[in-house]
């Protein structure tokens, strides 16, 4: 249940240009820029993976430990819509957004208000959403079995794209652009709409927002729905970036998402972009130069940032860690 798949194949992305017959390196700069560019591309995707988790933390001060499982459900939905109806992933992404927002609202009202009244809601949220995560995983495994599912990459275009001399599959570029659009839309929502402004008010202080007459529960419910939708969209593109979808991928995704948002400041959705890119670039550097140790990275990055700078890179000293 810890394994990540599909990334390793990537480290060999450029082997014709980099490795000679003996398998030794002869073009270090090319390899370095290659890793950095691929890192930024992956980083945009990881931003999408972490963004929803961070939005929920920022607004409700709870950790949705089932985030990775909602991502998995998004991927399963895309797989199902493609194999049964032949829907293009972009169409599926649109559907997933609508459906996941609608799923998010009742889940919020069922669980979160009661949770927030408890003695230590942040801690208990971990355990509670862990239970939700187990239920999702179990139902998915019972319904679909535990096999890996993937989508053909050609759906998002054939052939490589050459970016600053690095060849990348079109599907990656596509997923990165889609992630960037999603991040931009969240920015526009938070800073250009009325509901977004109210959301930021709740982030600053839930109690004061309540006292000003803001319908805190509704604002939070919408944020929760958006968060699930973001996870779902990330799931739609997961087959192209991570290689495949399995019912038990949630835990590994959660650690990654948590590393991303802790690096990029908890509770600051835009910091997630920086966290995602730092994470993506360091992951690609690790996979290029130390590939068998690359899976250590999210864990070590997470521990290091929590210990050295728990408030994150953009953070002010607002939270007690």
């Amino acid at each position: 249940m810890w394994r990540r798949r599909g990334w390793r194949a990537f480290a060999r992305h450029d082997d014709e240009g980099i490795l000679d017959d003996q398998g030794t390196l002869h073009d270090d700069t090319n390899m370095l820029t290659g890793a950095i560019i691929a890192g930024v591309v992956f980083g945009l995707y990881y931003t999408l993976v972490g963004l929803g988790l961070n939005l929920v933390f920022g607004v409700m001060r709870i950790v949705n430990l089932a985030h990775g499982d909602f991502l998995m459900l998004g991927g399963i939905a895309a797989w199902f819509l493609f194999t049964s109806l032949g829907l293009h992933p972009l169409v599926s992404a649109g559907l997933v957004v609508v459906v996941f927002v609608l799923i998010g609202l009742p889940i919020y009202y069922l669980v979160v208000p009661r949770l927030l009244r408890s003695r230590d809601s942040e801690m208990l949220s971990l355990i509670l959403f862990f239970g939700v995560s187990q239920m999702i995983e179990a139902v998915t495994t019972i319904g679909l079995g535990s096999t890996e599912r993937s989508l053909p990459p050609r759906l998002l275009g054939v052939g490589p794209v050459i970016l600053f001399g690095t060849r990348l599959p079109k599907a990656w570029i596509f997923s990165a652009i889609a992630s960037a659009v999603a991040v931009l839309l969240v920015y526009l929502y938070l800073y250009r709409t009325r509901l977004g402004t109210l959301t930021r008010a709740v982030m600053v202080s839930r109690d004061e927002a309540l006292a000003t007459g803001i319908d805190v529960n509704f604002v939070s419910a919408v944020a929760f729905g958006i968060s699930l939708a973001l996870a779902g969209v990330a799931g739609v593109f997961a087959p192209f970036i991570l290689g495949s979808i399995t019912p038990n991928m949630g835990v590994a995704i959660n650690i990654t998402a948590f590393a991303v948002i802790v690096v990029g400041t908890l509770g600051n959705p835009l910091g997630t972009l920086l966290g995602g890119i730092i994470y993506g670039v360091s992951l690609m550097l690790m996979q290029t130069y130390l590939s068998s140790w690359a899976n250590l990275l999210p864990n070590l990055l997470l521990i290091a940032v929590l210990l050295v700078r728990p408030e994150g890179i953009f953070g002010r000293k607002v939270r007690r860690a």
Binding site: V111, A138, L307
Partner: protein, 317 residues
């Protein structure tokens, strides 16, 4: 009317006798069960989870830190045992000592995590456990740890002896909890958990208290991991660092009720019992059930089964 010194002491002695006899009944019961019931592996797993749930109780129940990565110490113990037995051809008891040392060393390395609190501590400890797993299971270290291909310790295989050692570890753990529940040190830990600033002002050494609880808790998991390696004798890093071990222990503890002696015992006997009836055949049904159970528990009974009694003012050992 407040107790006089002598009355208070008599009351304390009665409590300790009651707690100790509960511990004794459980340990002796699990020992007798081995002679009566033939599925030794299942009984061994019960003993393991009884000890793990109590080990987690030491750190969570008494200090409020919930390490999601508790399995890291268990895995460290299992590999501490295996490395010494494989490479130094040491006896199993030396291996058990190595398991304890491995878990304690890891706990000391992770001491800075205690600076974090709540969710941050839980997640960071989970990341730490996974980091240890990634190192142990790394194919580059195949010569040392056998990497992802697993360990085989047939030389020291001794199912009966290792079962009784596991019982001894369970007894040790239960006595630790009895001691914490009835000693000045245990009280001071609970004071730190409830309000660390006030406790510090009352002269309680916060850092020392938390450190000791953390090390004891890690020691229990390391010993259990070591005896697991010994009893099973063939296993993979995926089994020794299976996150489900942390999760089971956590759910059993929370279901029964932390800080008590009976709570985690009840949690293991009830939930792990159900698991053995319905879960083995189709683990997903159990996974779904305990997922739902966790959600309901957190929402409606956040202090566990025993809180049904404690909320009515009845003291539960």
């Amino acid at each position: 009317m407040p107790d006089t010194g002598a009355e208070a002491r008599a009351k304390l002695v009665r409590r300790v006798i009651l707690d100790t006899s509960i511990a004794a009944v459980v340990v002796i019961g699990m020992g007798v069960a081995r002679g009566v019931y033939s599925n030794e592996l299942m009984l061994f797993n019960f003993v393991m989870f009884l000890a793990l749930a109590q080990g987690l109780n030491i750190i969570y129940g008494f200090t409020g830190y919930l390490p999601f990565g508790y399995v890291g110490f268990y895995g460290a113990g299992a590999y501490g045992f295996s490395l010494v037995v494989m490479h130094l051809h040491a006896s199993a008891l030396v291996g058990m000592a190595a398991a304890a040392v491995a878990a304690l060393v890891l706990a000391v390395i992770l001491l800075p995590l205690l600076r974090l609190s709540g969710a941050y501590f839980a997640i960071a400890s989970m990341a730490a456990a996974q980091a240890v797993y990634e190192v142990v299971a790394n194919p580059d270290l195949e010569n040392i740890t056998k990497g992802p291909y697993g360990v085989s310790l047939s030389d020291v295989f001794a199912p009966a002896f290792s079962y009784y050692i596991a019982l001894a570890i369970l007894a040790f753990t239960l006595l630790l909890v009895v001691w914490l529940r009835n000693s000045r040190f245990g009280m001071s830990l609970q004071a730190i958990r409830d309000d660390s600033v006030s406790a510090a002002m009352a002269g309680v050494s916060v850092v020392r208290g938390r450190t000791i609880a953390w090390l004891l808790s890690a020691l229990v998991a390391g010993l259990v991991g070591g005896v697991f390696a010994w009893h099973i004798s063939v296993f993979y890093p995926d089994t020794a660092f299976d996150l489900n071990i942390s999760i089971f222990a956590t759910v059993f503890l929370l279901f029964g009720g932390a800080t008590t002696l009976c709570g985690p015992l009840l949690g293991v006997f009830i939930l792990y019992g159900i698991y053995n009836v319905i879960g083995i055949a189709v683990p997903q049904y159990f996974e779904f059930t305990y997922g739902a159970l966790i959600v309901l528990l957190v929402l409606f009974l956040p202090n566990g089964l025993v809180s049904l009694l404690t909320n009515r003012g009845i003291r539960v050992p």
